[in-house]
């Protein structure tokens, strides 16, 4: 086993209630590292040409929970959940910061592959002694808060009973789903730490489809041995010095974005993206901080960025609601997107979304979509069950619950914005797709392209991304993002703990000893990962197959002129999108429709894809 790895992966067959330790060859790890890269490789190897026929919510889908060689050792420990996505039908590397990641590694595992479907609700409990499949009937139906509380207690008691009595055990790392995941709300999140989520991709519903409520890990071993330990220790210090120097980001987190992003950059969803600008100072960062941040620096394992700010409402109507910040995405999606500019309401709705196990972008995006249909008279009060007016917190709260429990119109919206739009269009005989803000099914993150002022400044950020509307992994020029998010998702570290890329690659080398450089990663490893992702995304199915070019596009709304703010009348340049898209495909060695060429597949050591790709070319 190469350095930087715990040494084995855990295979769990829930149908047979069987667990096995497996190895991944060093050559594969050197090509794909872990997380998103290794995930897409394992999925292709195991599912391969059957891809289009596999139901992501069926027992044959493989749920992967993977770390990478840098996880826990580099600042910002994270875990990557992946599999065939029920939202995009491709593969999304969906990551969250959590202590689960280093607990898993110190228990001796670099990752878990879960297949089959348990006959009754279960959870996995992983320690150095192996994996137990435990009954989870008592947890099924429980909200996030309650799930954490029960598991922490239950596991602590179980560990204290182990012999010899070694003293107190720290709490385990826990990944879990809420009611949304249990009820297979298609875009539901895999949750951790109350308000952290592997949100994009809908892997919460995959867990639900497998009757898997939670995965718990507790390790007592050291982090994996590395290639050059003294170098790693020095790099650890340098990396943290760098992160600590970013003073304003550390202080504000992303929680100052709710006002700033809309007001300055004009790229924040307002009323389902009908506008992207607002001037509501009530929604300013200091308003959140002064009233609700009970911990101004909140971090995950080995992190000095502490972009998380613990928020709690300590009095009044929503007393006891807890969440982080909320971070910018949820401030926007559970705030401005609903025409809400009151920090308390945004915290309340964010806490509800987290507790239900919804993804904080997907579910509120679908709710905002429904609210626009109500505004336009396409959905009536009768369809919804109540008036769904902008700014009306009760309505949004009700609908979030109806989606989680698949009640009434919630059952349709639980399919995610795009699928719901198709269904409602059919039902009503009206084209609703133009109000669905998604790319390849993935509801778009809270950063618009029209003002061209946000970090999403390249028009094709979402349009050609292999992760669709995912704002954490946008496409830019086919080089930068490869050594950026494609790398961090595969090394599995937080991309809010970024250091200069040279330092990150030195760090990787000191950990693994692999002869990987930024250049070789951008030339070979990165393109290999996104080429695989692109292929599986286009193979898609079984319910939806994306059409190259037509679906390599921004949401229609992103071509409407901005109606207000400093960038009024500006919009996404369609010609520029076409040109950049063509350039992007060319850079990656894909043809004019974005289909990998035979030459590229051979060069990237992906010749076994040729047969499937040939079908896409015709």
């Amino acid at each position: 086993m190469p350095r930087g790895y715990a040494g084995k992966y855990l295979e769990v067959d829930l149908a047979k209630e069987k667990t096995t330790d497996i190895n991944v060859p060093e050559s594969v790890l050197q090509e794909y590292l872990g997380g998103r890269g290794l995930g897409v490789k394992i999925l292709w190897d195991r599912i391969g040409e059957r891809w289009s026929t596999i139901d992501p919510l069926g027992p044959e889908n493989i749920l992967l929970v993977l770390t990478g060689p840098m996880t826990g050792i580099y600042p910002g420990g994270r875990v990557c959940v992946t599999g065939k996505s029920p939202v995009s039908n491709g593969v999304v590397g969906s990551t969250a910061s959590t202590e689960f990641a280093h607990e898993l590694r110190t228990a001796g595992y670099d990752g878990i592959a879960i297949t089959g479907r348990a006959i009754k609700p279960v959870y996995l409990f992983i320690t150095e002694e192996g994996c137990q499949i435990n009954d989870a009937s008592h947890l099924w139906g429980k909200m996030g808060e309650e799930t954490i509380k029960i598991l922490n207690k239950e596991i602590t008691i179980a560990l204290l009973g182990r012999k010899p009595n070694v003293g107190l055990w720290k709490e385990p790392g826990i990944m879990y789903i809420g009611p949304a995941g249990e009820n297979m709300v298609r875009n539901a999140a895999v949750m951790t730490k109350l308000c952290h989520a592997c949100g994009y991709g809908g892997y919460g519903s995959v867990m639900g489809s497998k009757n898997l409520k939670a995965i718990v890990a507790k390790g007592r071993g050291p982090l994996p041995e590395v290639y050059a330990p003294e170098a790693v220790k020095l790099l650890w210090k340098s990396a943290h010095e760098y992160l600590i120097s970013r003073d304003s980001f550390r202080r504000q987190g992303t929680g100052y974005g709710g006002f700033d992003t809309g007001n300055t950059m004009s790229s924040e969803p307002v009323r389902n993206w009908q506008e992207e600008w607002h001037d509501k100072k009530s929604f300013g960062g200091p308003m959140f901080e002064t009233q609700f941040w009970v911990k101004k620096y909140w971090a995950d394992f080995n992190c000095t960025t502490s972009c998380m700010k613990l928020a709690c409402i300590n009095s009044g109507r929503w007393k006891g609601d807890i969440t982080d910040n909320p971070d910018y995405e949820l401030e926007a999606y559970c705030g401005t997107n609903f025409d809400i500019y009151d920090p308390a309401v945004s915290i309340h709705l964010s806490a509800l979304i987290d507790n239900l196990g919804h993804t904080g972008i997907g579910a509120p995006n679908a709710i905002g979509f429904a609210a626009e249909l109500y505004q336009r008279g396409i959905l009536s009060e009768e369809d919804i069950g109540f008036p769904l007016k902008w700014g009306d917190v009760e309505g949004f709260e009700k609908l979030a619950k109806m989606i989680a429990y698949r009640q009434g119109i919630g059952d349709i919206l639980a399919e995610g914005t795009y699928r719901a739009a198709k269904k409602i269009s059919e039902m009503k005989g009206v084209d609703c797709l133009k109000y669905a803000i998604h790319v390849k099914g993935i509801e778009v993150g809270a950063h618009g392209t029209r003002s061209d002022a946000d970090f999403i400044a390249h028009n094709i950020s979402y349009a050609v991304s292999v992760q669709g509307g995912d704002h954490t992994s946008v496409a830019s020029d086919g080089y930068n993002e490869l050594s950026g998010s494609v790398f961090t998702d595969s090394a599995v570290v937080c991309n809010f703990c970024p250091t200069p890329q040279n330092l990150m690659f030195d760090y990787l080398k000191a950990i693994t000893g692999f002869p990987i450089t930024i250049e070789s990663w951008r030339r070979t490893n990165g393109p290999r990962i996104v080429t695989l992702q692109r292929t599986l995304l286009l193979l898609g199915g079984p319910d939806i197959i994306w059409e190259p070019l037509k679906d390599d596009e921004n949401p229609q709304r992103f071509y409407e002129p901005l109606p207000s703010g400093p960038y009024k009348d500006k919009t996404t340049d369609k010609d520029l999108v076409r040109k950049r898209r063509a350039a992007y495909f060319e850079t990656l060695g894909w043809d004019e429709r974005g289909i990998p060429t035979t030459e590229t597949l051979t060069k990237l050591n992906l010749a076994d894809l040729e047969h499937s790709v040939k079908r896409l070319r015709s």
């Binding site: 922490n152 070694v166 109350l194 007592r220 650890w236 943290h240 620096y297 995950d300």
Partner: protein, 174 residues
């Protein structure tokens, strides 16, 4: 009573980054090993992070509890020092500690207790570097308050919960 160094812990300021665990284990184990760190951050509920380490009680119940005289007090730092040769892994020091602070080392089951790094604790350095200041090194008169910090981390979190989350705090930890 004499004076000595001591690590002040300010629970509300702990971010849960656990760099203290990494720094401690790098100093004592020469590698990153959170569960072998002499300071361990418990988290009975997210947001309630409790750095847990020896408080150097004025009467050192752990030292007196050891039938094998494996524990002693360092005269310079007042830290508890474990003689790993003499330790038999009986666990009596863990029981004697009012905060259940000592634990058996994950490699060899020997009692493991903070030694204050000989006077210059690494955990404090990294916490200060990050400007979190949940840990601070002070030099003050030996007093009985120190012992009151030697508490089970879940008890500490229970108090902290009410302070941070208000009434809701009571519901979060049984």
């Amino acid at each position: 009573m004499s004076s000595s160094i001591w690590i002040v812990r300010d629970y509300e300021k702990c971010t849960g980054c656990r760099r203290c665990e990494l720094a401690c284990s790098m100093a004592h184990e020469n590698w990153m090993w959170p569960e072998a760190s002499r300071i361990r951050v418990f988290m009975p509920f997210p947001g309630l992070e409790v750095p847990h380490l020896c408080a150097q009680c004025d009467n050192y119940p752990c030292v007196t509890s050891c039938p094998f005289k494996a524990l002693s007090i360092d005269k310079n730092t007042t830290a508890v020092v474990v003689d790993r040769e003499k330790c038999t892994s009986c666990g009596l020091c863990i029981k004697a500690c009012p905060g259940t602070v000592p634990f058996l080392h994950p490699r060899d089951n020997k009692a493991t207790i903070c030694d204050l790094c000989g006077g210059n604790p690494e955990c404090v350095k990294v916490c200060r570097e990050a400007d979190y200041n949940a840990l601070r090194l002070v030099h003050e008169r030996m007093n009985t308050n120190r012992k009151l910090f030697a508490r089970n981390p879940i008890d500490v979190a229970r108090y902290l919960a009410s302070k941070i989350f208000g009434e809701k705090g009571k519901e979060l930890i049984d």
